[in-house]
Every structure is written in C-alpha cells, then in structure tokens.
Symmetry: C2
Subunit: 497 residues, 2 copies
C-alpha cells in the first residue's frame, strides 16, 4: 500500500465571478476541489477570512493545502505552495524533533534540546509532586516553551517559516504528554496510577500553544496507562513490531527503560526506572553529544586510552556512548575492578577535590575527572537495565537465544559500541547481527507517522495488543540486579541467557 | 418525527478506579457512555483537562452534556446539570435574541438592542464602504460587542450563567453575518456582488468571540448570495415554507424588504430596500416599543385620537405599529390628505421649529411632534413595500387572490393593526384570515432550529429551492411605487390584486 498523506498541496483554479456566476468564493473553490476529486471539504473560519483576498491576489488560481480528515478533507491553508511537518519526542531529560518537507518527505533537520522541566526537578516523580502542589501550570509552560524553542530553532536553521508547519506528530511518556496537553497529572503518581486520558488525541496548534501555523493538526500518540507512554508506542511503530511473524525483543533505554517482546499477534511490555546514567546525567562531566564531547573511547596499541572527541581535540564532557566505552576500557585495562573500584596505583587515577577519580586528558586545559561514585551510579543503571531485560525475557518462558532480533533504541541505540555494552554486561552476549540499533525510535515512529496517515491505524493496533507486566514483582529481580553491580555480572552465564 | 436534540444532558456513573481497573478517566467515561448508547464520543481537550477533578469531586457520577455531531457525539461540557441555547437575529438596525433552556425547550426571555454599527453608518451600504476603507475590524468589533451585550443582558436577567450557554443559532443578512464572522465584505457591494462564503457555518464561541461557554457550538445560517441572507432563510424556516402544498406569500419588512412565494417544490424570492420607516427610525419621535411608546392609535367616539401608551400615560415616542395606526387615523380623520399633507386648519396641526407638524398629546410634558416631511418619508417606505409585493406576485403570473396565506414578518409582523396597514395601502386588501403574523420570523426560525437539529437539513433544502429575482428590473415598478406615495394608492384596485 502506498503511504496515505496527511496533507496535499495543490493549485486550484476557479472561474472568475461574473454576473451569471455569483457563487460565493468558498462555494467557487469547493466546486473546483470537488471536480478534482476532493469532496467533502471543510473550510475553517480563519481560511474563509482570508479566502477572498487570496483568490483575487492569485488571479483566481490559488495554491492550497488539503488535510485528510476522518470524513473528507479540511482546507487547512491557502496561498502556501509548500508545507512542513514536525515530529517530536518529549523525553523526561531531552526533547528531540525533526522537520520534514511534506511534499517530498525529505528530512531537513533533526535537533535535540534539554527538557526545561529539569530546572524544577530532574526526576519525573519530583515533577509530578511539584504539579500536585500547585506547580502544574509552570511545568506545562516550561515544557511547551522548550518545545517551541526547539521548533523555532529547526525552522530558523532550515529557512522554513514556522507558519508553514501544518502538521505535528508528538510522542512522550504519559506524564510528559499530560504536561504538554495541560492534563491533570495528579492521579498518575498515586495508586492505581490512572491517567486523565489515553488518546490518541487530535488537536490544533492553537489549542495547545504550539508556535507553528495556528491551525496545524497536532497528533499526540496514545498511551496504554501511566507506565506505557506514547514514546514506547512510537518506538514499537518504528520497529514495525506488528508486522513481525516471530517475536522480536525491543528495548528503549533512557532514564526509564521499556522492554517489549512482541509480534503480529501479541506484545508484552514492561517498564522501570534505570536512573539517568544511560542518558547524559550520571556524572558531572556527562554531556549530550555535541562539539567537544567524548563520544567513543578505545585502547591504543600500548594500552593507552584514545578518546574520540566530536569536532575537536579538547574534551569538554562525555556522552552516554562515550561513557559505556570508557567503563569497558577501564575494566579491560584493569583500572577499575569488577566492583567498579579504581586502582589507586593505576595511571590516571588520582585524588581530586577529596574524591578518588579517573583523570581524562593531559592535565592541561580540558582535563576531566570521573569520580569513583559516578562509576558506581553508572553500574547501578546498567545493572537495572540488564535485570529488567533478563527477568522480562525469562518471565515469558523465553531465553535470549530464542529471540531472532533485538531492537535497541533510546540513548543506547545512538551509535554505542555493542562490544563495549556487552563486555560490561549491559546487553546480553548475543550474536552481533541480532542487534538492530534504532536510534531515537520514538522520534523515528513519529517521523514515519508524519509520512503515512494510515499508520494511525497501526498505532491503534499496537495499543490493543499490548499487555503490561509489572516487572519488579518478579521474585529474583533484586538478586539479578545486585549481580549486575559487578562487571560484567556475578553470574556471567546469564549474559548468554 | 420527534425533534432531534443538539445537546443532551445526562448523568454518567463510572466504576471507581482500582488496581485491576486502571483505565484512564477518559476511557472510563467513554466506555460508560458507549453502554448508554452514545458512541463514538469525542472528548475535546478543554474537557479532558477538567475531567479528572470533576470525576472525583462528583464521586464518579458526573452530569455531562453531549452534543450531537455529524458523526457521533461530542462531550461538550461536564459538571453542569442544565444547559442553555441562544437564538440571535442580527438586523441592520437591531439585534434580537432569545434564551432557551435546552432540556425543556422553554423560552426564558427575548430581548432586543440596537446594532451598535449604527453609530458608524445607519445604512448598510455606508457600513460596507467603511469596511472597505480600513474600518472592517472596528465594525466587526462593534457588532460582536453588541451581540455579547445583549446575550449578557438576557442571561443576567434570567439568572443564567453565560458559561452554561452551549448552543448559539445566529442569522442575519449576508453583510451582517460577514461582519459577525469577520469575513471579507469588500466584494459584496461591487458587481457581481460575491460573498466570501455561503455557509451554513459551524464554529465555536471561542473562534468568533462570543461571550458564552467558549466551546459552545455556533451555527450561522447560510445565505444564498449577497441579497438573500440567513435571516430570510430563517424566516422561511419559521413559515415552514417547504412543507406547503400550495404556494404561500411571505414578506419580511424592515429596513430591507424580502418577499417570497413558495412551497414544497420551489421558492421565488426578491428583495429591496424600503428605508427605515418600517423599523422605528423614520421620525424623530420614532422609538422601539418600550415603556412610554405609543404602540397603537384609534379614534374615539367623537373622532378624537386615543393613544395606546405602553406601561404609562405620558408618551415618549411612537413605534412602527403605532405609526401605521397614526397615519391611518390621520387619513381617516381628514387631518392628512391623500398625498400625506397636513391640513393646517385641523386640530392638532401647528407650526413647530419652523415646520408644520401634527401634535400628539396634551401640550404639557410628553408632547410629541410628527413633522409633515416625516409623514412623506413614511409614505415612501410603505409605497416601496407595496410595490415590491405587487410587482413580485404579478411577475410570477399570480395575483394576490391566488395566495391562500400571506405570512407577515419583521417590523410589520409585530402586533400591527392589519386594518390600518390595509387602509393606507401598505398591505393588499385580502380577507383578513389569510394574514398570518409571524413577528420576528428570523428569530423564530433560529429558535426552532435550536430545538431540532434535523431542521439544519430543512434549511439546506430551502436554500436549494430558492430562485432569486431582481425586482427593480420590472418595467412598471416605478409607476406602482409612485402611485403608492398616495393614500391608499392612486390605483386602489391593485390593492385587491
């Protein structure tokens, strides 16, 4: 099936009014659209307001944008030959968005910014508590401002007027989309964790305060409860899970970890918190990948560490993939032991500000210090991640060996070194060809939807198939987690699962 | 067929969330509505925002308002056990509205106010010219403010919160509804007189700036071109023209006069301007009917004039029906001659401010003067009205005698004395039982629609059946008009048609 567009741009030519053809401007355009096969077409009031002027300015031959609606079409814009769409993933820590030309489907730019709610509280539970004590509006304001800043940035950088953006596909976890939509979050943190709405929600930019064309269609991905947000649904859409004959494993790891196994027939899903280590927040030197961040680390021929610094030579921080490499390299080089403790005698290990640290860099400008307790934090996150994954797969009566493909999304999916991740016991030791890195799968799903309206049906299908499992209820979860605090694990056999 | 409601109020009870029933609040309510037979139901974002709080405050048993939509229902309000509707007719001179309780269909109040655009220009052409020279926004602001003032007034007087008004049915001539909707009017006054839109238009109170519940559905009656506005369509709905087996005659006379003849099969319609004499604007002493206005005049046993003064004894002005009576009485008493000239020797005729006048009242406080030239203005309007009517009926090959019923709407339809109107040659001399006074038929049509959504279909049917005739093109129009400047007419036979 060919993709079904959300919006079409076309040119409508209409007869010039005469004394024997006194049809109103709207009827004139509607009749022409009908002859072109578009019927019925709804004319929103803001379009009707500018139609007479636009028709006459264009000599009665007008470029229009037609958005497909549930029943027929909506004349969503006039006078603009090109229209754009935005895909957005709102994460607890970061917001990421893509700008896409709707005619060609070409992606013009992707950009990432911090979720400004972090200034209120880094963890989502803290934000929910703030919301319940009168700060809900402020948190929504911050989030929407952050989204608008990012949209403004990608449009400016791409030379696109925000007013030409007619479609926005947005996903995020349930709390984030509730904040974005200014829905009441107060029942999410308390048992039985009931969201205000499940969605999907179709709304307009004007109604949610997005700084694009005020009539733009805004689609917010559905959630399947407080713990299964639209970001996961979008990620599963990206992985095309409902077209799989054999069950695939999907993991999206950021501050929260979502794990799914599923196929055409069914989807089992679990979620938990792994902490910020898998994003960029575990260490003082943790940074989102940008100029100057260490994105990779490898051992040189004489055992020295070689840092892969993005766009430069002086490191300003380290991103998640760099951190995974660094931990793997420190472990391989014996600089940290299995428990993550630094060897004080090793080169590069020193005391700094009263704490034992590993020194990155030459000691001149650009010296970074990774503290031993930051290494411990990282190990807690990687242990939680693996424990979730292991327990989840096992709880379905499966082992890692049974899984033909493992889709890795989120912070883990963005250019990490699989060997490093496996060597520290973060991911199972499967044949490497079984791993499919997806990058930001949530954003990818929103991008896919932007280009094919029929996927809205696929999304409903995903939601219906999902069964949610409480993972922390498994009896030996804590034991597996504690084993993962060591490198690669106290019971390395389970990595081969 | 029983009427189809636009909106229903009902109470929805939903199960309290538990650990085994974690459905979102919206899904919870949707499932219950579905079991009650309402499916699908759309939940607008503003409702979703307050749903969690309202559900818990009500102990999970919530009054809701369900509006019928094209496909299914919209959850248009929650927490309000009663909802109200407003019918509005926007005339060039006056705005009139009714407030109706939607559950019972009971009309709580009707009220009338001046169209504040009159302060810019009394005639509509003048307003269109103002609009074309940069004053469009101001004219729309004035009108919308006037409508909101009137709505605020009827709600306040009836003890109804404007926020409980969920439906507004609005009609007016094409220029007025364009101003109301802030549509471009600049092509209406110039040939070929093309309106921006024909409608009908469904919009929301928020979008048009009406001061009722911001989510209220606002329906604006369709027009059939620049000269056949939604007020006429609404009047024809009031007269139930499309259910007539035999053609009826319909006349709506205000500043503009619309005449229609039609039935189930067809509707012929003509329109023209009669001037303000048929409203309350012909004379300096002309007033809208209210306390102190003269609403009727009759001759006493000894030939003296007895004034019927509304709620009092001291006259402050005279309304349209009083004026028709007065002219008839002055003519019957020989105080004016056939040409409308005052007899200077007659009692009550005197010079005042340099003009010859007829004095109403005792000479003490409350004395009113009707100037001779105001009588002439009145005769011009009544002559135009009759000429339109006569020429129109004749142009269809009919005579007045062929018409089984004549529906009289507008200023003429509000309690005028038929004998007076006939005696001065304003209306044809038909058997009196053929006349059906409708009052403000445009407002009445909007009220009918408020109580039965299925009439929206009837309205479409009326629009499709209408054929518009240019009346002033008839060759002897001017001759008939000039004859009507005399009382009752220079050719009285034509009054018997």
């Amino acid at each position: 099936m060919s993709p079904e567009p959300w919006v079409r741009t076309l040119s409508v030519s209409v007869p010039v009014p005469t004394s024997s053809d006194k049809r109103s401007d709207a009827v004139r355009v509607r009749d022409s659209l009908s002859r072109m096969g578009f019927d019925p077409v709804e004319f929103p009031l803001p379009i009707l307001r500018k139609l007479p002027g636009a028709l006459r300015q264009s000599g009665f031959s007008l470029p229009v944008a037609l958005t497909t609606a549930q029943h027929g079409y909506v004349l969503s814009e006039i006078g603009k030959p090109e229209v754009y769409g935005i895909a957005i993933d709102i994460g607890s820590s970061n917001i990421e968005c893509s700008l896409i030309a709707m005619d060609s489907g070409r992606k013009l730019m992707t950009s990432k910014g911090q979720n400004p709610q972090v200034s209120c509280a880094t963890d989502v539970l803290g934000r929910a508590q703030h919301a319940m004590t009168g700060q809900a509006e402020k948190l929504s304001d911050l989030l929407i401002q952050g989204v608008n800043d990012l949209i403004g940035h990608v449009c400016r950088e791409s030379g696109v007027a925000t007013d030409d953006v007619l479609l926005v596909m947005l996903c995020g976890n349930t709390l984030m989309t509730h904040f974005f939509l200014r829905l009441d979050v107060s029942n999410i943190p308390v048992r039985p964790h009931v969201p205000a709405a499940t969605g999907p929600l179709f709304t307009t930019a004007a109604e949610v305060g997005l700084a694009v064309n005020h009539a733009a269609t805004v689609y917010v991905f559905p959630n399947v409860g407080s713990y299964v947000g639209g970001d996961v649904i979008s990620g599963l859409l990206c992985a095309d899970i409902t077209s799989m004959e054999q069950p695939i494993l999907f993991i999206d790891a950021g501050t929260n970890v979502e794990v799914a196994i599923g196929c055409r027939e069914w989807i089992m899903l679990g979620a938990g918190a792994a902490g910020p280590a898998l994003e960029d927040g575990v260490a003082e030197i943790g940074r989102q990948a940008s100029s100057g961040t260490i994105c990779g680390v490898r051992q040189g021929s004489s055992g020295e560490l070689i840092y892969d610094i993005k766009d430069g030579t002086t490191p300003s921080g380290i991103c998640a993939s760099g951190m995974i490499d660094l931990i793997a390299a420190l472990f391989a080089g014996g600089i940290i032991n299995r428990a993550g403790k630094l060897d004080e005698a090793a080169e590069g290990v020193s005391w700094h500000d009263g704490e034992i640290c590993y020194r990155i860099g030459s000691g001149e400008d650009g010296t970074l210090y990774l503290r031993e307790r930051e290494i411990s934090s990282f190990l807690r996150s990687k242990a939680a991640l693996f424990a979730f994954l292991y327990i989840f797969v096992r709880s379905l009566g499966l082992s890692f060996r049974d899984i033909p493909k493992m889709y890795v999304a989120g912070a883990l999916g963005c250019g990490i070194n699989l060997e490093s991740a496996v060597s520290i016991g973060m991911l199972p030791d499967l044949p490497r060809e079984k791993f499919v890195p997806l990058g930001n799968a949530a954003l990818c799903g929103a991008e896919k939807l932007l280009l094919d309206r029929s996927l809205a049906e696929t999304i409903s299908g995903i939601c219906e198939k999902i069964t949610y499992r409480e993972m922390s209820e498994e009896r030996d979860f804590l034991q597996i987690l504690q084993g993962g605090l060591f490198l690669p694990h106290t019971e390395p056999d389970i990595l081969n699962g």
